[in-house]
């Protein structure tokens, strides 16, 4: 099978799609706002259920933070592909003379941005509610958030493409994502916990692990993701 000629390079096509996704969301911000509210509710529910002491908050905070992000992502990434089904806009995208992976990459990057935006608001709220000092380690925490969120966005976007083709997709996406992202949960929570401990330490092994996770799954997405977009 000869590869079709692409009128745009992969990166240009991807960025065009990222721009389209961002523009669509920034019209109403409905996805980000709903996700934010959801995450804050989860955070509050945890404190009602466990009524943590200050020490317990600091101990369980990082894990709770990342579980909330995971829950949020598993709901937020659902529309990524399922809303393309209403008017078969995905079919229209596929007709464009671009590498199919560009569609995937574009949505992946856009989802990554959305996740980061949610975390941008979530982190200060988390810092206040659980009395954890994030400011002194802001740069390192940012690094952990970036790496962890990239892993979540990668796996989440692929699984969103998978789930959107099946029945019960609203339940299916969290069902597929949460066990698969367990390594990201562990690594990110541990790295965050290390940064919040006294004295703060940046645990390089977890950082390296997250980088490896991201590289492995981005490569897998590049190699196999195209098959998900076929007719």
């Amino acid at each position: 099978m000869t590869r079709p000629l692409h009128s745009m390079t992969l990166s240009r096509a991807s960025f065009t799609i990222v721009a389209k996704e961002l523009r669509a969301e920034f019209r109403s911000f409905e996805l980000i706002i709903s996700t934010l509210v959801f995450v804050l509710i989860v955070v509050f529910l945890f404190s009602f259920a466990f009524d943590p002491t200050v020490g317990e908050s600091r101990r369980f905070g990082p894990g709770l933070l990342w579980i909330s992000i995971l829950f949020a992502a598993s709901l937020m990434l659902q529309p990524s592909f399922s809303r393309e089904r209403t008017n078969d806009t995905l079919g229209a995208l596929r007709l464009a003379p671009i590498d199919p992976f560009a569609i995937l990459a574009g949505k992946l990057l856009a989802n990554f941005c959305f996740l980061l935006l949610v975390e941008l608001v979530l982190l200060p709220a988390f810092s206040v509610l659980y009395d954890v000092p994030l400011a002194p380690v802001a740069a390192q925490v940012t690094a952990v958030m970036l790496l962890g969120s990239l892993g979540i966005a990668t796996v989440g976007t692929i699984f969103s493409a998978i789930a959107s083709q099946a029945r019960m997709r609203e339940l299916l996406l969290p069902l597929l994502m949460l066990p698969a992202l367990a390594p990201v949960l562990i690594a990110s929570a541990e790295a965050t916990a290390g940064l919040l401990s006294d004295p703060p330490e940046l645990q390089l092994n977890w950082i390296v692990f997250l980088v490896a996770f991201d590289v492995i799954f981005l490569t897998a997405a590049w190699l196999f993701g195209g098959y998900l977009l076929e007719e």
């Binding site: 796996v155 699984f159 998978i162 099946a166 029945r167 698969a180 692990f209 490896a212 098959y227």
Partner: protein
């Protein structure tokens, strides 16, 4: 079973009988031939089925991984049949692991479950491949089913070593009782033979389960093909 029916698996009856005998012998060996372990006592005999099940489950999932990639590359239905068959057999063996582990653990550790790296990874492995099978059930179009589940299968397989590593490192920082205790520490030679024998018996069982499950998938395909022909034929003659 009517002997006029075509397409039976040649030699299946003999194989099943042989496998049953082999499994019986392996069970006997594990119970009476193997020496009693020093620290845990007789309960350790569960190990002779528990550990090989784990290895065989992993082999089965590796077969699924290869079959998934083969399907994505060549789109042969046979690759898809192998993939799903091996995944189901793998889930069966993983279930055995997850059931025998706690039965072993309760008398030894006093608790049914510990979150050590091996058990946790086994659990996630089990969940991921059950998701693989569930996903297939939720996809209707046969080609989409095969393609989409193949991609998921690839991701699931790549995920497992990462799950294990993350749990290992986590457990070195936050130690939990290791349920399976140094399973390879100080295995007497007689134990190694029994272990090998049980491993061979379980491998034979896996091959039979795989073969029969594969035939089920092949038959389903044949039935759906014939139904298509039958439908179009009846439409044409009406």
């Amino acid at each position: 079973m009517s002997i006029q029916r075509s397409r039976g698996i040649p030699g299946l009856g003999v194989s099943v009988l042989a496998s049953a005998l082999l499994m019986g012998a392996a069970g006997y060996a594990a119970l009476y031939v193997a020496p009693t372990e020093r620290s845990m006592g007789d309960i350790q005999r569960i190990f002779y089925f528990h550990m090989p099940s784990g290895i065989i489950a992993f082999i089965a999932f590796t077969i699924t991984f290869v079959a998934n990639i083969l399907y994505l590359v060549n789109r042969a239905p046979k690759s898809d049949w192998l993939g799903v068959s091996s995944a189901e057999v793998g889930v069966a063996f993983t279930t055995v692991m997850l059931v025998t582990g706690p039965i072993w653990g309760k008398p030894v550790w006093g608790v049914w479950w510990v979150w050590d790296a091996r058990l946790t990874t086994t659990f996630i492995l089990w969940v991921l491949y059950i998701c693989y099978l569930l996903l297939r059930g939720l996809l209707d179009d046969p080609e989409r089913k095969a393609t989409v589940s193949a991609v998921f299968g690839v991701f699931a397989f790549l995920d497992v070593p990462l799950v294990y590593m993350a749990n290992r490192w986590f457990r070195t920082q936050h130690p939990a009782p290791v349920l399976l205790g140094g399973q390879n520490s100080g295995l007497a030679p007689e134990m190694k033979w029994v272990l090998l024998f049980c491993f061979i018996a379980l491998t034979g069982l896996m091959l039979i389960l795989l073969r029969v499950r594969y035939q089920l998938e092949a038959l389903r395909y044949e039935v759906s093909e014939m139904k298509v022909i039958a439908d179009s034929g009846s439409r044409a003659s009406n």
